[in-house]
Structures are given as C-alpha cells and as structure tokens.
Amino acid sequence: MRLFGPAPLPLDQRVALDAALEEAFAPLRALDANVGPSRVRAAVRWSAPESGRLHGLALLTRLSELTVAAAISALLFAGSVASITSVPADPDVSRDAVSSGEWTLNGRNALQRPIASRTSDYRTIAGDVATNAAIARRPAAPTATQAVRDSEPFAGRP
C-alpha cells in the first residue's frame, strides 16, 4: 500500500498542459463526420434478424428436410442389411408344376420358370395335369370292328 503517492501537478503546470492539449486537439475537434443516418438504417436492415414467422417457416422446412433425409437413410440401411442377412429360402417343390420339371434353378439358387413357357401360370399347369390324369384314368371305349371289303371302296364312310 502506497501511503505517499507522487505529488499532484502544480496549478500553473496543469494549466499549461491543459492549454497544450486543448490546442493539440483543436483540429480534431473541428472535424465533422461525413455519414448520414441512412447508412445506419442500411446497416440495421442488412443485419436485421429474421421475423418470428419466417423463422418458424424455416424451422418447419428444415424439419421436413431432415425427416425425408432420415427416411431415405433408414430405407437404404435396411435394404443393405437385409441383403446381407437374408438366407435364400428352400425352393418350394410341393407344386405340381415344380415336380413336372419345368422349373429351373437360376444363379441365385432360386426357382425360376422358363420365360417362354406356355405354362407361365401354375394354375394352367395344374389344370393341364389334372386333365391329363383324367384322360389317363378314363377306360378305353370299345371300338366296333368293321370288315372292310375291297370290293366296296367307300364302305363304312359316311
């Protein structure tokens, strides 16, 4: 703690300093600013914050953008994970069309029907098989034997 500081300036010296400083600052004191309030308004306008309504609209827009982005990302992620973890199912061989031999295994070990096959629908195949089976089970009808004589060239014809 300083008990004795430097002595104050004597009055005459203080007056001389005041006069010197007043004289030195006189040219600066005569300066006028060459700016108007329009520059202030322009600065305020350029740096003005957004209104509350516009701010809410921007927030809503940004939220919807984020939602769409998240949905697309989730979709892509789920698809990539599913393609890795999915095991090809065993081929269904219970259908008649499969057992008929028209199905073939493609490169991904999946059953694939021939594209050019007429039996593009399994129901058609099943119907055909059923029809063929019915025909096969039908007893053969007795056929009448007619004696054809060479002397009657058109015998037996309607």
């Binding site: 430097p6 300066l31 600013a33 600065a43």
Partner: protein, 216 residues
C-alpha cells in the same frame, strides 16, 4: 475531411428535446427522433474514432456501427440514464477492437491542415504552433490505452470525470488517477523537447525512473 452543413433534423426543436424524450420517441418508431440522436452525437463519436484509430474511414464505420447497435438496443436502453456515456462506451470498444488495415499506417493524429498561418499570426508562429501540436499528439499516442482514452474523452470530447467513469466503467477515483498519471507522463515527455517551453521534469516531482528515462 469535409465539413457538412448543419443537418435539418437537429434544429432548435430537436435541441430542446432531451435524450430521454428522443429515446422514447425512437422506441415508438419515430425515425426522426433517432436521426436527431444520430446528429447530436455523430461528430463526437467520429472524433473519438479518429483519435483512437487515426483512420477517418474507420472512424466513419465506427459511427455507423455504434448507432446500428444503439438502434438494435433501443428497447433495452434505460431512458433515465444519459445516452452519451453508453454511445461513447460502444465507440471506445469498437475503436480498440478494430484491427488496423494492412498496409495503411497513420503516423499522427494531426493531419497538418491546421498549420496554415492565420491573419493574426506570422508563418513562423504558425509553424511553431503546428510543431507544438504535433509533439503533443505524438506524446498522447505513446500513452497506454487506459490513459489515452481518458485524455481523449476529457480533452477532445469534453466529458467530465463522472461521465468518463461511466464510459470506461471504473470508479471516478480511478479515472482521476489515470488522468493524473497520464498528465504526469505527458509533462515529462514534453519537457524532454527543448523547443517547447515546458518546465524540466525535476520540478514536477517525477519519480526516479522517470528522471532516469529523461536523462537518457
């Protein structure tokens, strides 16, 4: 530096309206009231900016930035307080936070335009006055920021100690102390110039360190 005619918005009617009334009117959206405040304090802030930055264009930007901040903060300003210390505080902070432009140096506060002889003095007297002014301003430039801003606010802007204390946000006693030490340092430095008719520093009660510096 161009001199502008007195603006129309700062007429006798505007001078009668105090800061408090103008701030209230500006809050209510009165653009003319804000313009009156601008014209009232524009030049003082500009001079303060020139004195600290020594760059007239930077000082103009400081004026614009100061009033832009005032416009944004007009709702929060306490109308009971004087607007002037608040504006000067913002201007001082902006002036010291502004980085000097690269490649541009300003050697002195004085631009030399006032050194021309008037009718009442001879050219030699005018030259002597200009030299004395240049030396004083150079000595002011050597002061530290805390002391320089007190000197500038007091001798250039005409603020009293209480207003300076409000600007620099220190007690009045601290302002008085800073002004005292600034004047002592100026006195010592000015005494070192033989052309100036100042008393030698030994008579001023200078400290030993100041005496050594002056002897050197």
């Amino acid at each position: 530096m161009t001199r502008q005619p007195r603006p129309k918005g700062d007429g006798p009617e505007a001078e009668l309206r105090g800061d408090r009334e103008l701030v209230h009117a500006a809050r209510a959206g009165d653009a003319i009231a804000f313009d009156n405040l601008f014209y009232r304090y524009r030049d003082g802030i500009y001079r303060l900016g020139v004195a600290i930055t020594k760059d007239p264009s930077a000082a103009e930007e400081i004026v614009v930035d100061t009033f832009a901040r005032a416009h944004r903060a007009i709702e929060r300003l306490e109308p009971d307080d004087s607007l002037r210390p608040w504006l000067y505080r913002v201007a001082v902070n902006l002036s010291y936070n502004r980085r000097p432009r690269k490649g541009v140096t300003f050697s002195s506060l004085d631009d030399g335009t006032e050194d021309l002889a008037t009718e009442a003095e001879t050219p030699s007297e005018a030259a002597e006055r200009g030299e004395r002014r240049r030396v004083v301003l150079e000595c002011v430039d050597t002061l530290g920021p805390k002391h320089k801003v007190v000197v500038v606010l007091h001798y250039l802007n005409g603020l009293n100690l209480a207003e300076i204390a409000e600007v620099v946000e220190v007690p009045v006693g601290t302002v008085k102390s800073r002004l005292h030490y600034a004047l002592r340092k100026l006195r010592v430095q000015l005494s070192a110039h033989p052309g100036l008719d100042f008393e030698p520093a030994a008579l001023l009660g200078a400290t030993g360190e100041q005496m050594k510096r002056q002897v050197r």
